[in-house]
């Protein structure tokens, strides 16, 4: 059983005890513990259940690569599932719960899956849930969903805050181990702007732990001293920024790095954001990301108590935690001997070191023997005994099939299958790998590095991440590789004599299966991927079933697809696959490494974009009034516009009817501030607008307004609006609300790329003006009470504009109408919009003035047969379809879209054309409904002959009205069409003139 040792633990502070809970049970730890080390110290070896078979699982690693020890952390608004206990720093009051079991961690009903394991082979889901087809929806999917996933979904909104930060550095060094520290110091001394980040809470990485076991020194001093010295050096350099608890999540094109800084995970009471996502531009990136130890594949290698040798050593040296009283070490390399030495030095027993190599180890093996440890070469573990805890191992010959030579009782197994450089960041942006035969791992191929836009290398691996595995090599490589990155930035490196003294190691020997001739029964219990429960037998089955690509095998077996992304399992898995396919490992290759390196929080990705700041919400100058007066909002792009203003007890439909009736009978107000307003000025402005609009604008007189249509160069109608000529050289173009920015960009694009020599300047002044439409028979009367200027039809006729003073505010009044009523659109500087709005409400009170919303606007324009961009148009409609021939100038040689509109399909007389539609029973046609024709098409569907583009209840006519595009529509007045609805009913509507109200336009022209 694991427990706390009475001494030791370089990272913990025994004077600062902390208490926390695991599954509700109160437990103790020390400051500096990780949750994993504290759980082990408390004798809690089993930390979760596996995903598929619900097998008991204990912690296997001590860092970011941990696949098993995933917990739900925190409660309520701070709850987060699938957190690695190995990277969770302990704090007072931490609360953790284990996952994927019911009813409890100790007794789990789902563990029945383990008994049935031979019925759940690779590709089980694909094979089982195919037939019968109907069972998927009703039976399989609900069951799979019920049992899928490890952690629980948080039930509350995340209570923390998050942010981004944009960082700019010459050199970003990833990893705060010996290599990263050396690289950062060299770059700092070269005067570069440097960021050094380390994902854990401590500098130095593995080297100090290893030195504690083997007595290695650097410059004749302990390794710890070198770490302290460099950290102190860096602190004096103003050009160097160092960050702990910050992980490089990904490397992207152009030296872009995502840094994930965990600010308060270890101190949740601290103020400020929980995580900060650094969006970094780096001139050069050094990946000093170290290496990860590989497990060995033997039967029972997932039983709690079986750990990586390096993790076993970490728990003893860093946290003063014993993984067990009797620790069997099994290895194919010299490094694991350090673990045996550390175990022994801690006063615990190592009954045997099982070395798979026939010739055994070197100096470290001798050191272990000198401590009295029994070492057996050419041996293997045939099987681990125990269920929820290791009880012993069976020893066999590595060369054989598992015939047991000896049984050894133990409560922990430390395994090492060799080391794999962490090549993830190197690979994210295209760095290639090379297979290192001697060390049996993939390491960066520095000749095939990630390249920038000029073909230059921008990522450089250093130290263990570059395949340098022994201390002396690591230090030499870090200096060499950092020098390359610094030179690429134009810096110079001062030679730093650093000499390491560490025991020599003899070569490792690849061992992908233990023993090498293990039969099916053993292979079925030899785990590759702990988190997704993939075994050696699964990968071999996939190969037998024809899976040759490592990417396909990954998806078929789910190897490496869990939240740990196969940090422990990938190399072992592809080695087994290579063996099964009878090909060398490099030919099989690796799966693709993709960001993030470990999962990052969704909150960090969102940053400040949540709650009120989730999205920009554009407000008009009168927004607060609308809000206070119960506006029901309609999103229009990022604007919010009042849809209607319901009064107490009123439905939206009733409110819309009231607003229309008031406006048509007396006077109403519309906040039209969102309409686009673009100034177009210059000697060529008229010529420019003649090209932009389909009709003639250059002939417009100053003081007058003209409605115009704009088409794309492909002929499709993209925008409409009223143009006012302000003076000889200056026009004001009104666009739709949604078109303000895009039409301005459209103008600039033509001016900058095509007609760059035309003398025209534009300015988007949309937000300069508050615009209010005063609409209805009493509109003039209301305005006149606020002004001494003459607003009569004689001085301000229809389609004219004038500068006047209204309520003491200088205003432009445009006599234009989108409702068919007498209508004035009044523009004042935005800062005075609210004042005018209030003045108009006051002045109109005697006429019962009230605001109307966008729905009333829509209904009133439809009653008049006016088109709406986005309703009658959808990007495929041309003005001719809408019978707008009158707005297509015949005098002009050209305008944007003219040529396109002459193409055969555009000139086709069978294009559907705009008509009005009147239901026979007065009901409202369903929006978007199609009119059906005789017969069926080649797909067996009913033929269609038209569709509804706008449909409303008209309170003015007290019936449903609609517009639609219909085949030969204008020639078929009076015909009745059938519109099947989605509810099985069929609406019948008669083709009529789209102008339903005041056909002669007398009302607007008074």
């Amino acid at each position: 059983m694991s427990t706390r040792l009475s001494t030791g633990g370089r990272l913990i502070d025994r004077t600062k005890p902390m208490s926390y809970t695991f599954n509700g049970k109160r437990m103790k730890g020390f400051a500096g513990d990780t949750l994993a080390s504290a759980l082990l110290a408390g004798g809690q070896m089993m930390m979760g259940r596996s995903f598929k078979y619900h097998r008991p699982r204990g912690v296997v690693a001590s860092g970011a690569e941990e696949p098993n020890a995933l917990v739900g952390l925190g409660q309520g608004a701070a709850f987060e599932p699938n957190q690695r206990a190995t990277t969770t720093e302990l704090f007072d009051g931490l609360s953790a719960t284990s996952q994927n079991h019911w009813p409890s961690l100790e007794f789990d009903v789902g563990a029945i899956n383990n008994r049935l394991a031979r019925f759940f082979p690779a590709g089980f889901y694909y094979k089982t849930f195919m037939f019968p087809r109907v069972a998927w929806k009703k039976l399989y999917e609900p069951i799979v969903r019920q049992s899928a996933g490890l952690g629980a979904v948080p039930k509350e909104r995340d209570g923390d805050t998050y942010e981004h930060f944009y960082g700019f550095f010459d050199l970003v060094v990833v990893g705060g181990g010996i290599s990263g520290l050396i690289a950062a110091r060299a770059a700092g001394r070269a005067g570069l702007r440097v960021l050094l980040m380390e994902q854990t809470a401590h500098w130095g990485g593995r080297a100090p732990v290893d030195a504690a076991a083997d007595g290695a020194t650097v410059n004749d001093a302990p390794v710890d001293k070198l770490v302290e010295e460099i950290v102190a050096d860096l602190a004096t350099m103003p050009n160097v920024t160092t960050r702990l608890r910050m992980m490089a999540a990904g490397v992207y094109d152009h030296g872009y790095v995502l840094g994930y800084e965990r600010l308060t995970d270890h101190a949740p009471e601290a103020p400020g954001p929980r995580h900060r996502l650094w969006r970094i531009r780096a001139g050069q990136i050094v990946t000093a990301t170290g290496a990860i130890e590989r497990p060995l594949s033997f039967a029972g290698n997932d039983i709690p108590g079986v750990m990586l040798a390096s993790a076993t050593r970490d728990y003893i040296v860093n946290y003063g935690v014993s993984p067990g009283d009797r620790v069997v070490v099994v290895t194919n390399n010299d490094d694991a001997y350090r673990t045996a030495i550390a175990v022994k030095k801690a006063g615990l027993d190592v009954p045997i070191i099982v070395d798979a190599r026939a010739a055994g180890g070197g100096a470290l093996a001798q050191a272990a023997r000198d401590l009295g440890i029994r070492v057996e070469n050419g041996r293997a573990i045939a099987k681990v005994h125990g269920k929820k805890q290791v009880e012993g191992v069976s020893i066999c010959a590595q060369a054989g099939e598992g015939g047991v030579l000896e049984e050894i009782a133990c409560d922990a197994v430390a395994m090492s299958g060799g080391w794999s450089p962490v090549v993830h960041l190197w690979s994210h942006c295209g760095g290639k790998l090379t297979w290192d035969e001697a060390q049996a791992h993939f390491r960066p191929d520095v000749h095939n590095s990630p390249k920038g836009d000029a073909g230059e290398t921008f990522v450089t691996p250093a130290g263990a991440a570059n395949g340098a595995m022994q201390l002396g090599d690591v230090i030499a490589d870090a200096g060499e590789m950092a020098g390359r990155a610094i030179a690429a930035l134009g810096g110079t490196v001062r030679a730093e004599p650093v000499t390491a003294s560490a025991p020599d190691e003899v070569p490792m020997q690849p061992v992908w299966l233990m023993p090498q001739g293990a039969g099916p029964k053993l292979r079925m219990k030899a785990w590759l991927d702990y988190q997704n429960d993939v075994k050696v037998s699964d990968v071999q089955l996939a190969a037998r079933e024809g899976y040759e690509s490592v990417e396909h095998t990954k998806r078929y077996t789910t190897l490496g697809m869990a939240t740990d992304q196969g940090k422990l399992s990938n190399i072992n898995g592809l080695a087994i696959l290579s063996d099964a396919l009878g090909q060398p490992i490099p030919q099989t290759g690796t799966t693709t490494f993709r960001p993030p390196y470990t999962p990052i929080s969704m909150g960090a990705i969102a940053g400040t974009a949540r709650g009120a700041a989730f999205q920009p919400l554009r407000r008009t100058p009168m927004h607060s009034w609308h809000e206070e007066n119960n506006a029901h909002w309609e999103p229009v792009g990022q604007w919010r516009r009042p849809y209607c203003y319901p009064r107490t007890g009123e439905s939206h439909a009733e409110a819309v009817s009231r607003e229309i009736n008031q406006t048509r009978s007396s006077v109403g107000l519309l906040d039209a501030s969102t309409l686009g307003k673009i100034i177009v000025k210059g000697p060529d402005a008229g010529r420019f607008l003649d090209m932009l609009y389909t009709n003639m604008m250059s002939t417009l007189k100053p003081g007058k307004c003209r409605y115009g249509l704009m088409c794309s160069e492909n002929g499709f109608l993209i925008d409409d609006g009223v143009v006012a000529r302000l003076d000889e050289e200056t026009f004001l173009c009104h666009t739709t609300t949604g078109g303000a920015e895009s039409i301005h960009a459209h103008m600039e694009e033509w001016l900058q790329t095509e007609w760059w020599d035309w003398k025209v300047y534009t300015a988007n002044v949309t937000e300069q003006w508050a615009q209010i439409a005063v609409v209805g028979p009493k509109a003039r009367a209301v305005l006149q009470t606020l002004s001494d200027d003459d607003l009569s039809a004689e001085t301000l006729p229809f389609m004219a504009w004038k500068e006047v003073t209204l309520a003491g505010i200088k205003a432009r009044v445009f006599r234009i109408s989108f409702s068919g009523e007498l209508s004035f659109e009044v523009a004042v500087p935005a800062g005075q919009g609210m004042a005018l709005w209030l003045a108009l409400l006051d002045a109109g009170a005697e006429h019962g003035i009230m605001p109307y919303g966008t729905e009333a606007l829509h209904v009133m324009r439809a009653e008049k047969g006016f088109i709406m961009i986005g309703d009658e148009t959808d990007g495929t409609v041309i003005p001719q379809d809408l019978n707008l021939h009158w707005a297509l100038s015949k005098k002009k040689d050209d305008y944007l879209g003219k040529r396109a509109q002459q193409r055969s399909h555009m000139a086709d007389p069978n294009r559907w054309k705009l008509v009005g539609l009147e239901t026979l029973d007065g009901s409202v046609l369903p929006d978007g409904a199609y009119a059906v024709a005789e017969g069926v098409n080649e797909n067996g569907q009913k033929r269609t002959q038209g569709r509804v583009t706008s449909t409303y209840h008209s309170p003015t006519l007290n019936r449903g009205i609609a517009m639609g595009l219909v085949l030969h529509g204008p020639d078929r007045m009076g015909e009745v069409l059938e519109f099947p609805g989605t509810d099985g009913t069929v609406s019948k509507a008669r083709i009529v003139d789209p102008v339903f109200y005041d056909k002669d336009g007398e009302k607007q022209n008074v």
Binding site: H164, T608, Y761, Q832
Partner: protein
Amino acid sequence: MSEPQSALTGTTCDGIAKIREVGLQGMITLRGDLSATEIASAIADATGCALPALREITHEGRNSVSWMSPDEVMVFVPYDEAEATAAKLESALTQVHALVVNVSDARAMFELEGPNAREVLGKLCPVDLSPDSFGQGIIRRTRLAQVPAAFWMTSDASFRVVCFRSVAQYVFDTLKIAAQPGSEVGLYTQANG
């Protein structure tokens, strides 16, 4: 006549930097051939400011002129002088092709003040705000979270931030989150010593 209102009528907030909506500010868009001597002299006559070069802002008294694009500058004058200044610029430029338009109401302006002001902006704008790269005399048009914005420094520890009026509340809310207590990054303050 009613008093014009700025977008947020001077709202303020204190965090790791102070945020204040500055209130009314006269702004005039001027487009033209910036290499033409008429433009430079019209600007000098109307504001006393020198014509700014690429990504620069020049100041004279209460007036400023900032570069906006290769053929556009923004003229900043007190709000109640904007109309007259625009008219003055316009009349000085009758002989050249240019556009002068008073846009004083189209935008909102904020002041961001304090030793952490650089870092607050650095959380929202993809700009290198280290003292070596960004100081007084520079204007940067960029993205602030999800909206367009521009900013420049008025002292070693204060910025003016300009955005469109309709998103003033969004920009205020976003700056407020970025300036929340305890959110110091410690990058530029460290570099300042």
